[in-house]
Symmetry: C2
Subunit: 137 residues, 2 copies
């Protein structure tokens, strides 16, 4: 899997990705950047949430759940000292829809976090999770 | 550090980030998505390249180098079996500018990869690097 990151100006970078979709990144003004795009460390959290989110949605759909609303709140703790890596990440899944129950949601989250999600498997942080279901008719 | 990932439609997700910049992600058509935005696993590579890229540029600037062009080619190997995590990642830094030499570039890359880059410290993969310098007058 290949990608390129290229400097545009000052500290603004474009990531050219295999899918053909580019992503912009920038540093904060306090770090010397222009705050014109998201921070690199935010990309890691976005990728983690996107990866497990797509897994859980696909698994729940296979279980005949109908999803009306889906989100994940991500809360990451970083080390205080450089290189300030992610140490603990909590994922709170919020799912609204029909034909949902604890068993299905727990199984979907478990399968993503332990079997399918490449992003959680690629990160060193201890990843924990919780969930909320809102059942609709 | 907080973030939220929200379902927009089908498998398309928006990551709402602390910096205020949102990022879109989508699955490939073969995975049931619409290929309208980058893949979650691409976010991890973008974040890694962006993180070490900003480090190296800032360190070289402190060393009085003038950077005319800067890019990183990222080549990642993933495990064949689920969860297909990143196992090895090679970063090839390509730097063009004035007042550059091997010593400065090696030191800047070393400081990023071993001291400052939060993204490389957060990933499990074995990360290696190489570089090319093009000196300009």
């Amino acid at each position: 899997m290949k990608a390129s990151v290229k400097l545009k100006e000052n500290l603004k970078l474009t990531a050219e990705l295999k899918s053909g979709h580019d992503i912009l990144m920038d540093a904060s003004e306090s770090a010397g950047g222009d705050d014109s795009a998201a921070r690199p460390m935010e990309m890691l959290l976005a990728g983690l949430g996107g990866c497990t989110g797509i897994d859980v949605i696909l698994i729940l759909k296979k279980m005949k759940a109908e999803i009306a609303d889906f989100s994940i709140d991500i809360d990451a703790e970083r080390a205080e000292k450089h290189p300030k890596k992610f140490e603990k990440i909590h994922l709170k899944y919020k799912i609204k829809g029909k034909n949902l129950n604890d068993k299905k949601v727990e199984k979907a989250i478990h399968l993503s976090e332990n079997k399918y999600c490449s992003a959680s498997a690629s990160l060193k942080a201890e990843i924990t999770s919780s969930y909320e279901i809102e059942q609709t008719n």
